[in-house]
Assembly symmetry: C2
Homo-oligomer: 176 residues x 2
């Protein structure tokens, strides 16, 4: 499955604009994401990600492949539900993977047609917005659609860095 | 959790002896096990195992650490239930792990106190018996108990090789 996703810093009027587009509130979630790095090569360099996400209703293991273009966060994404995130963590540690950081956030999700708009409040980073269309076969069309939605919300940046990368950057800059 | 396990080739009277010990039939299972090797080091050499087991009622990912002694198959074992074995396989392939073989078997399980006795009919190998005690804190006591049960069944060998290793051996010897 190809996931096409853009991310931008939220503006004070962003929530109002999301509602004005006719997007419907679909869920509020709490995520604790534990990221792992490979013993083979640095995922920060290869642009891959391996993550255990713990949500209120359960946990998942997700692998994300390198991004496919320079404007969006489009990439291959593989996910399995797991019943025991601590055992999964111990398996990854036994296989040589090392924890690289944790991201904790509150996500409020809206749906707009086939798109999901997520308002994220990330611990240590602040508020962001992500627009995602998943499951399509033609990612160039998906890509156009998510960029259009971002423009309609009055946001013109597209942050390609992950929350983990942004957090690790802040940490290395001594901002926290 | 430490799993203490011994394995032996089944004899014609083994089933009768299991029943004579008072063991209770607990389940019949069908397993399809897909094993993976690490890109870091050969699990055949390091004595580790990484496996997706697909059973009738669901799938699990299991990591087994190196064996702890020379007489039994005692080792660290970590398991998570997964909802999608194909996605799990794709994640492992994306992380650089390579399939090393498949083992298909029918397992009939008996319980005898805290021990599980499994009669395995393995495709390409024949019938085996495994005695396992899991979950204890003192593996030297667990180890004594499983060896005692094996002796009571009139079996004195202890095969430390996995079914995968036995199958790969047969294959390399050109027996199939």
């Amino acid at each position: 499955m190809i996931e096409v996703e853009v991310k931008a810093r939220s503006h004070p009027d962003t929530l109002q604009r999301i509602k004005a587009l006719g997007a419907a509130l679909s869920a509020t979630e709490h995520h604790r994401d534990i990221y792992f790095n490979s013993p083979m090569h640095d995922f920060g360099q290869s642009d891959e990600a391996l993550r255990i996400r713990i949500k209120d209703e359960g946990a998942r293991l997700t692998y994300k492949g390198p991004k496919l273009d320079s404007e969006t966060k489009s990439r291959k994404e593989l996910t399995v539900k797991i019943d025991d995130p601590e055992a999964m963590k111990q398996i990854l540690l036994s296989l040589g993977f090392a924890p690289s950081g944790e991201v904790v956030k509150r996500r409020i999700k809206y749906t707009l047609g086939e798109a999901v708009i997520a308002m994220d409040d990330v611990e240590g980073l602040g508020e962001f917005l992500e627009v995602e269309i998943a499951g399509g076969q033609d990612w160039s069309i998906q890509r156009r659609k998510v960029l259009d939605i971002l423009a309609e919300l009055g946001l013109d940046e597209s942050i390609r860095k992950s929350y983990l990368e942004l957090l690790l950057e802040r940490r290395s800059e001594g901002k926290e």
